[in-house]
């Protein structure tokens, strides 16, 4: 009787491990789809950031026209390298809903 019980358990474990390996293969496949699409998404993201920065720069030039001693587009750092802009900085002049969507949209979906 014990033998039957243990036999069923072992059989169950074997099926579990097999299905887990199969699930791992499926997960690898889905991750590979993401790997394949990364350059496209990265390029689009870069263009979007740069476009928003450009629009913000032009808006800034318009808004701060009459303020004395203001250099348009002045960076807040002393260095020359590319600093990834904060999402608050990018979405500054847009409705607040867009900023919330950028920050928490993934959480809402999941």
């Amino acid at each position: 009787m014990f033998g039957i019980g243990i036999g069923i358990m072992v059989f169950g474990y074997w099926r579990l491990f097999k299905w887990n390996r199969e699930r791992r293969r499926l997960q690898i496949e889905e991750l590979e789809a993401r790997i394949a699409l990364m350059p496209l998404l990265q390029a689009e993201h870069d263009r979007r950031t740069l476009r928003m920065l450009r629009e913000n720069l032009e808006e800034e030039a318009v808004i701060m026209k009459d303020v004395p001693g203001w250099k348009v587009g002045e960076s807040v750092f002393h260095t020359d390298r590319w600093v990834t802009p904060l999402s608050e900085e990018l979405f500054n002049l847009r409705p607040r809903e867009e900023l919330l969507h950028k920050r928490f949209g993934f959480l809402w979906y999941v």
Binding site: E32, A33, M38, L50, R54, S75, H78, D80, R81
Partner: protein, 172 residues
């Protein structure tokens, strides 16, 4: 002295975008990874070496061109089976590839006989590759300040200290 942030103009950022939804991209992802491999890898290499998106706009443009050609070829040859595949993927909640094996098989055989493309095996797209570019390696990508020179090498005979280290009991 804070420097001016240089942002490219809207004209320079204009690129033909791919107006396609996410399940379409995911459906074609494996074939895209094996076909459009070269410009993709060059763009990623550029991005990772220069650490600056403004310097990689040209490579990004080439990535977009390759992707557009890829989708045009599919649309020209295997449109119906591809449409069925991605609508099937779109139907499921998380776009899981395992629910649409039949349509995937149909699409794969259609692409194989018309265009000669093979679907890459499991693990092929995640292999580490070497990329050859004509772009030179950037020196100082982090724009660090000039570093001080290292200490001069000490000439002459050096011996270990007599009676061991003087700081043996005060080694914190």
């Amino acid at each position: 002295m804070p420097t001016k942030l240089e942002v490219p103009t809207l004209q320079e950022l204009k690129v033909d975008e791919i107006k396609v939804s996410s399940s379409v991209l995911k459906a074609a992802a494996h074939h895209y990874g094996s076909q459009c491999d070269k410009p993709n890898k060059e763009f990623m290499l550029c991005r990772w070496e220069e650490k600056d998106p403004r310097k990689c706009l040209e490579e990004g443009r080439k990535v977009n061109e390759c992707a557009l050609n890829f989708f045009r070829q599919i649309k020209g040859n295997c449109a119906e089976s591809f449409t069925e595949y991605w609508t099937c993927l779109d139907y499921s909640n998380l776009a899981e590839l395992r629910h649409c094996r039949k349509q995937q098989h149909a699409f794969d055989s259609c692409v194989l006989e018309k265009l000669g493309w093979e679907r890459p095996d499991l693990g092929d797209l995640s292999k580490v590759t070497k990329v050859a570019t004509s772009r030179p390696l950037p020196e100082n990508p982090y724009h660090s300040r000039p570093r001080p020179e290292p200490n001069q090498t000490i000439e002459g005979k050096l011996e270990p200290a007599k009676h061991g280290s003087r700081l043996f009991f005060w080694n914190w």
